[in-house]
């Protein structure tokens, strides 16, 4: 999954992951105070993850709760951006952490293929099974073995809008279908405010647009097949989704400033175009983290000055829920795997998630988490929508693809969708180019 400002992570990670090199980073962890008593007192669990700043701070609160419960000391080790290189070098150096928070499903799969992971204990699997929709188990499993417990999730099917713009244009109801969405967009344009800010300079926002349309229009089965490249990109369903997307891209009323401006707009700027001091558009589509930026950088009050509605259904399909998340995995080579597994069992329960939910900037896929734990209504609504989607949740397709296709600046899917935004007249041709690149990257 991606967060604003961290989009370089994946490229960097894969760049060095392939090299499988030793990394000289020094672990600068901080240990939490030991609690007396408890079943694990005297033991230390080391957890590695990419989190920095407030995310790290909040996750440490979760670890503190674990310490309070079990007596185990915990150490959080920041891995830097290249989590796989980091872990690889630590394993080679005989100093592996017990638990790693894998930031993408690709990382989890890579670790499993390397044989680094311990399967989830029955206890952890059972706790997870009772509170997570089976789809999360699927994304945490490799070749039928359950390794990764999804703890933190992202919701990437939220369309954010400025309520004032909607009121000014007289759009009363939040759109329930893609056709409605375009109609509302045109009404917005009639009022003199272009409909969508599109961050065309960041290719990943375009892949997210496509994925939402495709998931709703073609359905989850085809989505899964396409994600694994068992279905070719030249398939009619892809061409149809591109045509649908092109309907939006080619309409000058809908794309703020036209395609050329969109291609020069990065993700934070697209949020600024809607929620900044000089608004230039009425809506911006991206994940739940848009709300965080609108709130933190532009001082908008969520639920009042900045609202969202779920990405609407396309052509009578069901509304898509595209997601992603951080999964906790236990390493075989850790010194304290047993205590690490206890931590996973703790993370599988609702208590752990509620600690972070209260602190903000967090969504849990866990259905047992008390929605009252979230700090504001808007986050609560995203969490509700994510949990309610149950098994129809699908992970970001480009995250599942080889980085060369789904995660490289100026190449693969990113680049081809940018070309498509520039000139949406030939969906068929775009599909053919996507297929050529995908075939090369997947090697099948």
């Amino acid at each position: 999954m991606r967060r604003p400002g961290k989009t370089t992570r994946r490229t960097a990670a894969t760049a060095s992951a392939a090299l499988a090199l030793a990394l000289g980073a020094t672990a600068c962890g901080t240990a939490t105070g030991p609690a007396s008593g408890g079943e694990l007192s005297g033991q230390t669990v080391t957890v590695a993850g990419v989190w920095t700043g407030s995310e790290q701070k909040n996750f440490k609160k979760v670890l503190d709760a674990f310490t309070a419960k079990t007596g185990a000391k915990t150490v959080f080790v920041p891995s830097g951006d290249n989590v796989s290189t980091f872990v690889g070098s630590k394993i080679e150096g005989g100093n592996a952490p017990d638990v790693v928070m894998a930031p993408q499903v690709g990382v989890l799969r890579q670790f499993a293929k390397e044989g680094w992971l311990q399967p989830l204990s029955d206890e952890a699997a059972k706790t997870a099974g009772s509170s997570l929709a089976p789809v999360w188990k699927d994304y945490g499993s490799v070749d039928g073995t359950y390794y990764g417990l999804y703890f933190k999730a992202a919701h990437k099917s939220t369309v954010w809008y400025a309520p004032q713009a909607f009121a000014q244009a007289g759009v009363a109801a939040e759109p329930k279908s893609y056709a409605d969405l375009l109609k509302a967009g045109r009404t917005l344009a009639d009022s003199g405010r272009p409909a969508f800010a599109i961050a065309g300079e960041d290719g990943w926002t375009l892949t997210d647009w496509f994925e939402n349309i495709y998931l709703s229009q073609a359905g989850p089965q085809k989505y899964d097949q396409l994600a694994q490249h068992k279905l070719k990109w030249t398939d009619d369903s892809v061409v149809k989704a591109l045509t649908t997307l092109g309907e939006l891209f080619k309409d000058k009323q809908l794309v703020a400033g036209g395609a050329q401006t969109a291609l020069g707009t990065d993700f934070p700027s697209s949020v600024e175009q809607v929620f900044g001091p000089e608004p230039k558009a009425g809506m911006v589509y991206e994940g739940d983290f848009v709300g965080g930026i609108a709130k933190d950088q532009f001082g908008k009050k969520l639920g009042e000055d900045a609202k969202f509605f779920p990405f609407p259904a396309v052509d009578g399909g069901s509304a898509p829920v595209v997601s992603g998340g951080d999964a906790a995995v236990v390493l075989k080579d850790g010194k304290n795997g047993k205590a690490g597994m206890k931590l996973l069992e703790f993370l599988a329960g609702p208590d752990a998630a509620e600690v972070w939910a209260g602190a903000g900037g967090f969504l849990s896929p866990n259905s047992k988490v008390d929605l009252a734990a979230y700090g504001d209504d808007t986050t609560r609504d995203t969490a509700k929508s994510l949990v309610a989607a149950g098994d129809s949740v699908r992970f970001d397709m480009s995250d599942q693809a080889p980085a060369a296709f789904g995660g490289t600046k100026g190449a693969g899917e990113w680049k081809l969708l940018q070309d498509f935004l520039r000139d949406p007249s030939d969906p068929q041709g775009a599909a053919a180019k996507l297929e050529a690149e995908a075939a090369k990257a997947y090697g099948n």
């Binding site: 007289g170 490289t408 100026g410 680049k415």
Partner: protein, 464 residues
Amino acid sequence: MADTLTADSGTADSGTAKSSSTAGTRTARRPADPRRLARRRKRRLAILFVLPALLLLGALVVYPVVFSVGRSLFDADGDRFVGVGNYAAIVHDPATLKAIRNSTIWVVVAPLLLTGLGLMLAVLTEKVRWATAFKLVLFLPMAVSFLAAGIVFRLAYEQDPDRGVLNAVAVGVHDTFDDAAAYPTARIREGQGLTGRAGGPYSTEKGVRTGGSVSLGFVGVAPDAVPAGAKAAAAPAPAADGIAGVVYLDFAPGGAGTPGRVDPGEKGLPGMTVEAVRDGRVAATTTAADDGSFRLTGLADGEYSVRLPAANFAAPYQGVNWLGPALVTPAIIGAYLWVWTGFAMVLIGAGLAAIPRDALEAARMDGAGEGQIFRRITVPLLAPVLTVVFVTLVINVMKVFDLVYIIAPGPVQEEANVLATRMWLVSFGGGNDQGLGSALSVVLLLLVVPAMVFNIRRFRRSGA
């Protein structure tokens, strides 16, 4: 100064020869054993002196060359021997072909432009008193990292004329000759009696008879884009000898009102130019008042079409899309010129200063024009310096990486790629095809081999 630094080693070799010969005569007088011992010790010392350099060069420069050549013969993961497959892939991969095309453009254009520009400026500065200050200014960018230069030019090339200085100039120049339209975003309300393509001109679908009136509804104008003086729209009473009407914003706040009708709260669009047209000829022209009303008077009886010319709606000039797919490579070459022109100018300037004054004066006395002198005497005498500058630039241009990597925005990265950036992206940028990456780095090496030979030859010739 360059002469002292790159000085040919004529003196060096004779010097060494001398020292060894004196050493020979000196040692000859001594007994065999200590002499050999001393020589051996000296050799050991010499080897000690060069060893650190040779070890590093061997391990980190020579070995990688050998390794890369070998690695380029295997597939992406290094498991399978593919022979020259990777080299074949270079020719077949469209993205890599683009990089080769761009590298060719770079190598052909940049050194030529730079040498030319450097020569021109060197000649011009020759007789200017503040030449040193000028040279300093132009040489300054050589101290700046390509990263910083990249940021500097990314800023200058920004598309938005309110941010990028180049487009600010372009738009400024353009707008002094061409006034901006009043309602660039306005468009007609579909199906309400007006036709025309986006951007205008728009005309009434049906003819309007004199004495009649029309109301022309538009949408797409933001509330703050309506002129401050605009009043609520009102249709004037029809006039006998003309056509009256109103041009208005057919959109009330909140979306209230019926399309096609002047509703309360809807404003006129003052300043809109309106024409009455018959048989393709403009019979009358007027401008809408503050309430959007207009009167086309003095018309002969008959049926006219009312037209709003495109000039009302012309999109504002946006400047040049410097970093778009078409111009990105020339734009980056421009940034490269900024960095390197000073170098070319200073080096050529040093060459110019070395040209004997007498030759030039003699030619002047013979009545030769300045242009003639320049072509017939200066340039030929400068040829060796120009060659060195040119070759140097070719070598450096071939390896250009940072500027391209930094300036090209994501969407056009591929259009801007050169061999070095392509090699990086292929090897480390996600694809991680180290076979192809190695092949590209070998190609890069092969391309500089002529320069390598040139250097060795020059050195041997001067050393012999």
